[in-house]
Symmetry: D2
Subunit: 412 residues, 4 copies
């Protein structure tokens, strides 16, 4: 047994297949993937990694299994899946995930190939565990897959408290001990036991506060959009393909961006934290539906058009259109008077949070600091934004969706 000290869960005991998996390259690689990607540019203490998070998820899974009373090979499979659930992440975690997916068809939880083809597969086999079943659990399949990836999975319990611990933002401080103890299965569904409507709501609220404050903080969005753009350029060079990027760690990617002439300027900007600024920051209802649904190609064309009209280089305009607001946790299930109820059907909060999410939604256009006015005007024209004759500086007033403007560079 190995005991590991963790800043969130204190001592984590790792045993069985997990202890052997620890020493594999794909798991050790997670030490070099920042859990929150570019969020560290907003919250300087947020340097935690997918490795410590994976240990935390393993730990909570183990406690949940113990509390529910699941043992034997079933439990061993879940524990393996918990430790491995993030090995499919590309560098900077979610930041370039969409991009990698566009090229490879793989999301971070599509890990069959990694489980089979790497030394991880050998370890699993040595423990008589079928890689494909583990991959299934990681993808959320089957009854026990819900523990690893689902509305009430231990993944989000760990990341909320861990991200709170490392950013210093207290909103993620949920009662994870209670959550883990109250998990149970009813009719094959993972649910929270009687008396836990509010336990479920607390999880929802924590995410509702952490999202705008941390995960979708404007500076995080800008830096992420810039990173994505740089990686696209990297992929356009003959030397690197998306499959390779997927298996890089943060060091590889930063190094590649610095070395490749097409991305060196971005790398230098990133190192100096010299980020684009917002030229437009438009609310949901002010953003034409067509634009909200535009695909990757269409977005690229609009960016080019805006850049041209504003007379700035094409790669100095980034159009950042988030997807439609969603809320996985709303489908989490709770026992109420012996019946399984969807939280979204039972809790009046869910509707409120859903509306709030839409209210916080923002479409952004970013560019270099001294071009925001020009680009803002051009974007209003090109995108057909309904801000009748307002100056861009007015548009830019629409900034206050975010709870936190720490390192308030973006607002300047």
């Amino acid at each position: 047994m190995t005991t590991i000290k963790d800043s969130v869960h204190d001592h984590i005991s790792v045993d069985g297949v997990a202890a052997d998996l620890l020493d594999t390259g794909p798991v050790q690689r997670l030490r070099r993937i920042a859990q929150l990607g570019t969020v560290k540019l907003v919250y300087p203490s947020a340097n935690h990694t997918r490795f410590e998070h994976s240990l935390g998820v393993y730990h909570l899974a183990d406690r949940a299994l113990d509390s529910i009373g699941i043992g034997g090979v079933e439990a061993e499979r879940v524990r393996a899946a918990a430790l491995l659930h993030d090995i499919g992440h590309a560098p900077f975690s979610h930041n370039v995930e969409e991009l990698v997916h566009r090229h490879t068809g793989l999301y971070h939880d599509d890990v069959s190939d990694l489980l089979v083809e790497t030394e991880v597969g050998d370890v699993l086999e040595a423990h008589d565990l079928d890689p494909e079943r583990i991959a299934g659990l990681i993808a959320g399949e089957g009854q026990y897959g819900q523990l690893v990836s689902g509305e009430l999975d231990v993944d989000r319990m760990d990341y909320l408290v861990r991200d709170a611990h490392h950013t210093g933002v207290p909103y993620g401080t949920i009662d994870h001990e209670r959550l883990v103890r109250e998990l149970t299965f009813a009719d094959g569904d993972l649910v929270l036991d009687e008396g836990n409507v509010q336990t479920a709501e607390s999880l929802l609220m924590a995410r509702a506060l952490m999202t705008p404050t941390v995960y979708a903080h404007p500076v995080a969005r800008i830096s992420k959009a810039m990173l994505r753009r740089a990686v696209e350029r990297l992929l356009a060079t003959p030397d690197i393909d998306a499959g390779q990027v997927r298996r890089m760690d943060d060091y590889d990617l930063v190094s590649a961006l610095r070395t490749e002439p097409a991305t060196a300027e971005f790398a230098a900007r990133y190192d100096r934290r010299d980020l684009f600024k917002r030229a437009v920051w438009a609310e949901y209802d002010d953003t034409p539906e067509a634009l909200r649904e535009a695909d990757h190609e269409a977005v690229r064309e609009l960016e080019a058009e805006i850049a041209e009209r504003a007379s700035v280089p094409a790669d100095e305009v980034v159009l950042d259109v988030p997807g439609e607001p969603s809320m996985t946790e709303s489908t989490s299930e709770v026992l109420v008077n012996g019946e399984i109820r969807r939280l979204g059907d039972h809790s009046p909060l869910v509707e409120g949070l859903r509306t709030a999410q839409k209210q916080q939604w923002r479409m952004g256009v970013y560019t270099v600091a001294d071009a925001t006015e020009r680009v803002g005007k051009a974007a209003v024209d090109v995108l057909g934004l309904d801000v009748d004759g307002t100056l861009v500086s007015d548009v830019r007033r629409r900034v206050n969706a975010s709870l936190d403007e720490f390192e308030a560079g973006a607002g300047r």
Copy 2:
């Protein structure tokens, strides 16, 4: 200057009039008033007092004043009011407040008499501060009164984090540092500065989670209802009146309850934590409107009727009808794009929380453990509850409004 170590805010420096007020009897008395009254029967660590809370409120007020830029005598008045804001509390804090009010017409923040007639008045005068103005601030009057008692007062910022620290329930962990830094005045109103809609929402959510989990936990409600009943009996004796109770500390009151024959049994029960159990726990819509609006007299009569029908002694039935749900924080104000907006008008969450509050509302009938079935049936009849023919045991299933059933005695 005196420096005091606090478990929540670390070092608190007390200066000026506050340092002199510290040594007065009415302030020292707060050391012997439990912040959360009988909640300690649910959360054994919740033994914190109004004294440490008052120091915390003083500390946050001082920081807020500093951040807003208010100094001089104005600030000194607010600091005095912050330290003194709770000296009007009766023993066990809010637990017997209604009762004392019924007899004396005074709530805990009606403290003019205490400021004038006690040594507190001497200290204020020695510092050239008018007791009446301080009393006004404590009652929330005037522009600066909002800092001490209002939707965004520092009082609730302290108690949320302090109650979280001492109960171990993390839901109250708000970002009080940020709140204090973002307070400002606009048109004479205390508001949160631009970019703080979610800061305001976070305060609301913290209260929304702490209320059912801590403040209105069923066991806390039962013990509080029992205490209230006992104090009523105490007041019915010739020796003690409500004015005296108001100035007792917890030691005095416990001692009086133990000594007085009419309340000795309650005192013994309380010491053994041998509490009444729930016979009925009815939702808002299942509780007739007339009952929800019944006054004190009417409630007493209904209790007597239930007791008689169930053939139990009159003082073994407690009918506990909470007031209509309310949410002060919904009127807190935030700057949005330069305009003052009420949170309740701007945030879709407020409506959701309001509905949730109503959903969590419960009317309770409590009695001794072995009479719950009989009393439950009698109560259904007497109160005209709409539970068509269901057994009381079914009624008792309706228990799951509460997030936490720690020390789950009440559920047994």
Copy 3:
């Protein structure tokens, strides 16, 4: 099973005999005994009780048993002893323990009578546990008694972290999780496993810092000495004997002190926190050996003599002579290269801490604020202090042995 939320250990699950013991009067009484007695006059947040501490000790004992691999009735006995280990405490915990012992011959861990004669005995018998054996464990007898009361017991692990949490003084923040995991038995002795010399030292250092800062803070010592004096007077009245005091809770004692004319003034002083001040504060080497070894009677006589010479009432002089410095933890044992070694023999720190302890030792003479000079001079004469001709104000400069002078009343 009952789950209890604790501010230090989060969720504590109580099961078996412990769950039944929870509901007994002697255990519930611990809710009303302040863990640190009058220390709350220095650290206003230190209102925690023997009840939450006892739950914590139970919890750590349970984890240690689990880690060592002890189960069955042996473990059940240890768990019962852990929960019950403090039921013999008089009000204000250690503050009046010596006094009660002088009259009853009983220390707080002499609890045979309580285990046999109260309802606790019934519960133990219902679980087939012999009260005498439990009493033995509480007194530290036998192999497993070391877990409950010994150099490495879980008692001190809980109180150090709990006292740190509630006072806000960080020095007690030991790694209790590690300590509990590293306990093991070797040749029947409870020892720390290989590689833990520093784990043991850390426990020692935590106590070495907490003692002067918290447990023996001058203001705590003064208030404790005053309380002891008041209780002596109470015992001198015909109505109350030491056996009764031993079974009171804090409410009873405070109430008795307020009611009894002979102690009413003390009670009023205590309520206003109007404490005696130091007239003399002498180092170990400046205190004559005879005085350091004086018994209770001799001390009383010296006090009377000082009072007389200073022309102050006899009960306004308190002579406070602590016992010889000791350090239980120095005999704690650690495995080093397969051998059991006493920490005191192995660690060079122990000697340093021992000397430091002696350096911090202070004999105090306390009196009312305006008599310190007179009483100081008289004490120098009567006690034969070697401060050749110095004024008492010089004597009083020798104040700075203490780390913390919070609520610096004592220094004024």
Copy 4:
């Protein structure tokens, strides 16, 4: 003013010259220098950076200046120095510092060139601050230099709490608020005010526990020794010199090690956390004096000799001889009865800690896992270790100097 959220000090306000320095390349580079270098291989959460530490040091310096009452340009200089104090660090912080020094003559606090030649110099000049004076403060020169680099500097106050927060090891949890408040100047020396002998001791004890547990954990020492060896090889290639390494960030260095054929194997080992193991772990008195004083060249020769005798490749043997134990804090000064006293003269603890330090001292010989026995025997011969005929496996038992064997790879 910029406000930055920090996981340790919560909100940090950055103002004046510091706000402008924040945006410079040399300060932003600190985001990419791990505070504890390879310690993250032992404590997976220890991914914090020199950037957040520098902000913390700035924050504490600002509070200390405020508390002492220093303002104006003096204070502005100290704040600049605090923020800049670590910009001279090479990648992986202290890990390759000696090596860089051997080649460049510069330690991490020799930063004159960086202050003059980079954009930092421009910012300082724009604020009328002389770079040379700032460099002097960073080197600890002058009265105020003691605040930045001295026995009682705010640097160590920040790193102890920060390292504790991020590793999860509680021993560094000092009372930094109190330390900062108690700093004062006496006769031009930075001292702790009256009543703070134990405050000073607590700092000493924190370091005494953190050092073996964290900073000199065996696995940290092994990985650091391996890294040093690899960087030496890197410097032996024609392409990279020590001046360049000094200005790299962690990404540059890892990337260089991966790319350079001579170090690629190390890079691969590091990524898999496949570290050398201990072949010898000898106590101070068992290590010949000549060896303890051997210089770099001599050590290289001994390594070669051991490798040859054990028939392993030369670069698979690392001889790791720490310097003589030292304890800067022992010279820190405290006011005792109005006189400045050195802690080392006053506190009996210092001598104990000094002896403990020597007791914990270990000379190590490391090699690949399957050669430890052979290399151990060879080392015993070559180094003339006094372990008369013992098998190497016995030598290897001498492992227990360390408090923590987390991720116990080194012990396997």
